[in-house]
């Protein structure tokens, strides 16, 4: 199996994951819908996961894959808490547009 993964050069993996990460960042910065922002965050985390596994395969060090497990668990927990917060925001402001939340302005 490692040969299959290693048949794609490492540079491809790095470029691909960087692109996905950049898309995720732009999504977080640009979109107004909070659900879409959560999805973009997930996208960023997943791109990092992929890169970690690629490095683990290419250098034969399994600590990369262990780290992926942690990241996935963390992503799940974070989504749970994030959605709970979004629920409370929706109940109070009847909207999921983050531009509504500007009470911390001067």
């Amino acid at each position: 199996m490692f040969e299959t993964i290693q048949s794609v050069p490492l540079n491809h993996y790095i470029l691909f994951c960087s692109l996905i990460f950049a898309i995720g960042v732009i999504g977080v910065l640009t979109r107004r819908n909070v659900i879409v922002i959560m999805m973009s965050i997930e996208l960023m985390l997943n791109s990092v996961n992929l890169l970690l596994v690629a490095f683990s395969v290419f250098f034969g060090d399994s600590s990369g894959q262990v780290f992926v497990f942690f990241v996935m668990a963390l992503a799940a927990a974070e989504v749970a808490v994030g959605l709970a917060i979004i629920m409370m925001v929706y109940r109070n402001t009847r909207s999921i547009d983050i531009d509504i939340l500007n009470r911390l302005r001067w």
């Binding site: 977080v28 910065l29 983050i98 531009d99 500007n102 302005r105």
Partner: protein
Amino acid sequence: MIDLIWLVPLLPLIGFLINGLGRNILSKNLVAWIGCGVVFFSFLISCVLFNSVYQARQLGEDAATTIQVFEWFKVGSLSVSMSFLLDPLSAIMLLIVTGIGFLIHIYSIGYMKLDLGFNKFFSYLNLFIFFMLLLVLGSNYLIMFIGWEGVGLCSYLLIGFWYKNSSFASAGKKAFVMNRIGDLSFLIAVLLMFVSFGTIEFGGVFPQAAKMVLGDNTVVLISFLLFIAATGKSAQIPLFTWLPDAMAGPTPVSALIHAATMVTAGVYMIVRSNILFTLSPVVMQLIAVIGLVTALVAAATAITQNDIKKVLAYSTVSQLGYMFLGLGVGAFTGALFHVITHAFFKALLFLGAGSVIHAMSNEQDLRSMGGLRKQLPITYITMLVGTIAISGIPPLSGFFSKDEILAYAFAENKFLWIGGFIAALFTAFYMFRLLFLTFFGKFRGTFDQAKHLHESPVSMKFPLIVLAILSLVGGFLNVPAALGGSSSLALFLAPIFSDSVALSKPFHLDHSTEYVLMALSAIAAIGMAVYAYIQYVQKEVIPYPDNVERSFLSRLSYNKFYVDEIYNALVVKPLNSISTFFYQIVDKSGIDGIVNGLGKGVNESGKMLRLLQSGNVGFYIFLMVLGVMALLLYGIYTI
């Protein structure tokens, strides 16, 4: 007994503390007893000390003792202690300060009786006596300087005693500022002295100086600076205008400070440092010329003044000019003799004037007085004695002291003698003018004043009588050889001047010349008295009121030769405009601008930074991303 010398200044200091701290609590009676009592005890101890010095001098000893009270400070090679020097000169000055001080304290009981600040007045008087005693007793220049500055301070406090009147307060300020200029000069001289002699003790400086060559530059500079200090303290040209203004203070103050003691401090200091001056012939000539010019200018101003105290003030400046003339021509004993006799008759004249002012319900203008002989007999007789004394009519004290100075002046330079002679003419004239306008003729005051005319109480009469007796007999302290006397004062003071006498050319005047000079001045003085009598008693001339046109010379004299106006234009106005410049532009706009500007800058930047808080979450996240990127870049490039 000589160990108790430290009691002499300490008692007035204690009097000051008790009277000053208890000025709102103690009764006037108690304050008067304490105030006069401490000075009286100081006087008694001074008498005992003088007696011991006198006995020692009779045995032919130098009679100079230094008593150290405590060590003040020690820095490197300079060790200064509070130590007193008891020698013939300081013994005499002790007697004058405490004796006349005591008489004036007694006088003040009567004069200031109705004043609300009675207690404060006595505390200030005691403080003044304390500082004056430090001045005359100090055995080094630093202790003398403490006393020097302290009497300037007390002069300010006492001149501006009735401080609610702003012109009186200004007069006090003027006196203090002019004194201060002299103080600066004194301090520089003391510093120079330390640099060149390594010590500031009299016993260290004078023997070293005696070995120096005549005209040594450092000694000339030191003595010049000391002379400037003396012009400030003793009201000579150019620093004399504070003394007439100082008449704003109560009359006992004028008598004590501006006649008998403080203004003679300059003369005392020069007499004490006589060796330094003898080594600087240039400075001696300067002293003589300035003394003479001061004597003439002040005398010329006094002849048209109409305020009884102003006449006496200009008379004091003129007599101080005489003393400086005496110092300048080498008549150190003569100058000191004149200090003593002047203290007697000037204090007497001022106290008498105070008595007149008191009787006239605080009127001071000569044009409103007249014919007071009948109501104020004791005042009249004592003032008559004082006037005859100051005019230099024999055998009263003024004649002997003035003539000694004039004889030395004649031996030095005929022109100095002529100037001194003319000043003596003026002196006799304006003093008798004062006497005649006050006590002779018809009364020119208001009806209310006439009703209140009364002779002074005993507390004011007693000092007048004592001082009159002293003015009568004081001359016999130093009768010159030409008149068959033994010059006892000169003999008494000989050790002080021994170094100077060794260096300067001896005084020699034919006895016949001396007789001629004495006769000339006596006859001239009597002649001017007669002239004044003719003018003011027989012809009943009354001085012009203020709005009448006067001749040019009369105007010059009446307006005090416009010296105050010249000083105002040359010194006061430029200083005021410089001060305004520094205040408005440098301080308010410049420094405050910078400090306030910093605050404003911080404020403005805060206002701008505040706008970053837009509340827009997207913007915050964007900045977070930027921050993380910056950290990563930093990490990549440094590791």
